[in-house]
């Protein structure tokens, strides 16, 4: 069973982080990020050509992370691979010991660095979850054909509580759990009001008992970075008061960390939130400090948790 799954099933407030593979073949980049995150997070997401920019494959990078003693969460998007390639890579990843898969649709290629590319989108993230669950639990391929062998994998998905139509977001989460999601990592929370309201809806539907919800956070280094996210990154909602707070800060980096820590403190109080997912994009080194200051350190170590 995946370590992340064990941590969550023991009811321990989980911490996951994120590491993006390099835009080149240098695996030292991943080793360095893993060294910074090791011991601070229970598992680390390895992104799959995030923002549709070509990088080293998530699959290969996950294997490097494992070598470094970090448990990877392999992200898989449906933008670039059809159901044949996705099933094939899923089997390969499971065979090589990758035990967490995050199922995503993926950013559209027109927003990335190869806008001329065809997209695939043969299936969407919800269908991807369903397909992998079918392979794991019923030993069948998507076409219904029988498959041999055991698969031990913890399936996750993303969800954005901040995108429109807001009223549909909790219902969409229900679909993800119904399709096979066991854990959810949300879009970064800057607007606690919207998030709290979404969680209320989630609890009303009993969804917090269907799987584990990890709330996303992003530490920001400057008001400029925050404004960029507010204006340019689709699906992120940032209150103006937060932008002003960052603008006034004497030490913006320290303030960004402080905001992140305060957000985590608030998220810990919300019923149904099982952990946090810290996306310190190109700032992995700050994660241990955030984890410590949020009272989430030290992380459990394997011998302390008995596998159920």
């Amino acid at each position: 069973m995946s370590w992340l799954q064990q941590v969550l099933e023991q009811g321990i407030f989980a911490v996951t982080a994120e590491a993006g593979p390099p835009k080149g073949p240098d695996i030292e980049v991943i080793r360095k990020k893993c060294a910074q995150l090791k011991g601070a997070a229970d598992a680390v997401n390895i992104t799959d050509n995030q923002t549709a920019i070509v990088r080293m494959s998530s699959f290969a990078s996950c294997l490097v992370a494992r070598e470094c003693g970090v448990e990877p969460v392999m992200q898989m998007v449906t933008r670039d691979r059809n159901r044949i390639a996705l099933q094939s890579d899923f089997l390969g990843a499971c065979a090589l010991g990758i035990q967490n898969i995050l199922c995503l649709t993926g950013d559209h290629q027109s927003l990335g660095n190869h806008p001329q590319a065809k997209n695939v989108y043969d299936i969407d993230s919800i269908q991807l979850l369903q397909m992998f669950r079918l392979m794991r639990d019923e030993k069948k391929f998507q076409n219904g054909e029988e498959m041999k062998g055991e698969i031990d994998v913890f399936l996750g998905a993303g969800e954005n509580p901040f995108a429109d139509p807001l009223e549909f977001r909790a219902l969409r989460l229900a679909k993800k759990f119904a399709a096979g999601a066991q854990f959810i990592q949300t879009q970064a929370v800057f607007d606690l009001e919207i998030f709290t309201h979404w969680m209320e809806e989630v609890r009303k539907l009993g969804l917090h008992q269907k799987g584990s919800i990890l709330a996303g956070v992003i530490p920001v280094k400057s008001a400029k970075a925050l404004r960029y996210m507010k204006n340019e990154v689709p699906g992120v909602v940032i209150p103006d008061v937060l932008v002003r707070r960052m603008e006034k800060a004497a030490d913006p980096k320290a303030e960004g960390v402080q905001v992140c820590v305060e957000t985590i403190e608030e998220l810990k109080k919300i019923e149904g939130v099982s952990g946090v997912h810290i996306m310190a994009i190109a700032w992995e080194s700050i994660v241990p400090e955030i984890v410590r200051r949020s009272g989430l350190y030290p992380r459990p170590i394997k011998s302390e948790v008995t596998s159920p």
Binding site: H108, Q109, S110, P115, Q116, A117, K118, N119
Partner: protein
């Protein structure tokens, strides 16, 4: 023209469900020419529905895809529970936009952009990729007519001028080769065609066209 094929009656009945007052709406343009959704087909389907105890009426407009042609339907729509449109997917959506409270069901499957090649047989010709390069291939589009959309010659599955994916279909690359040979332009095929820019196609997202000089 846009080619459509009528859905099976069984499927149409499932779409309608327990609604009784149905308007079967034909379209007088593309789907009339390909004999799938014109006045004749609308009348036939409405009478079939009446045999099955529906209160079905029929009507046909010149083009369901243009607001000025569907506007006169306002009073007819007040009297029905649902519309069964025999237009292509564009017409169905134009109707659904104009009558947001009325369910509009597609009676056809919109299949492709194509032409009649003989009596009773239509074939696809254009995929609407947004960047026409058909001149490079002697007037035969491999993007649409080759199952793999190959731009640099036939795959290993071309046999006797037919496609391995659908053996009753011509291999687009056999046609391209023959045409360019006839024109003495085979050297045009030696150039390596670069990856196509798919951003003007549907892959780049929902498309629109604006004529600044025509805007009011």
């Amino acid at each position: 023209m846009i080619i459509g094929e009528r859905k099976p009656v069984k499927e149409i009945l499932q779409l309608i469900g327990d609604r009784k007052k149905i308007l079967v709406l034909g379209c007088g343009t593309c789907v009339t020419v390909c004999l799938s959704g014109g006045e004749k087909e609308a009348k036939e389907l409405a009478s079939l529905l009446r045999i099955k105890k529906y209160q079905a009426s029929d009507y046909t407009v010149e083009r369901q895809c243009e607001p000025e042609f569907i506007r006169p339907l306002d009073y007819r729509l007040k009297e029905v529970e649902a519309v069964l449109s025999l237009a292509c997917g564009v017409g169905v959506q134009a109707l659904a936009d104009r009558y947001p409270r009325t369910p509009v069901f597609p009676g056809l499957n919109t299949t492709f952009l194509g032409m009649p090649v003989e009596q009773g047989r239509w074939e696809e010709r254009c995929g609407g990729c947004g960047q026409c390069i058909v001149h490079l291939f002697g007037g035969t589009c491999p993007v649409t007519r080759c199952a793999k959309s190959l731009l640099n010659g036939p795959c290993g599955g071309s046999k006797d001028g037919k496609c391995e994916v659908k053996p009753d279909r011509d291999c687009a690359w056999q046609l391209i080769y023959d045409r360019l040979k006839l024109q003495g332009r085979l050297d045009a095929l030696l150039e390596i065609q670069p990856p196509k820019d798919w951003s003007p196609s549907r892959h780049g997202g929902h498309r629109k066209m604006i004529r600044e000089d025509m805007l009011l």
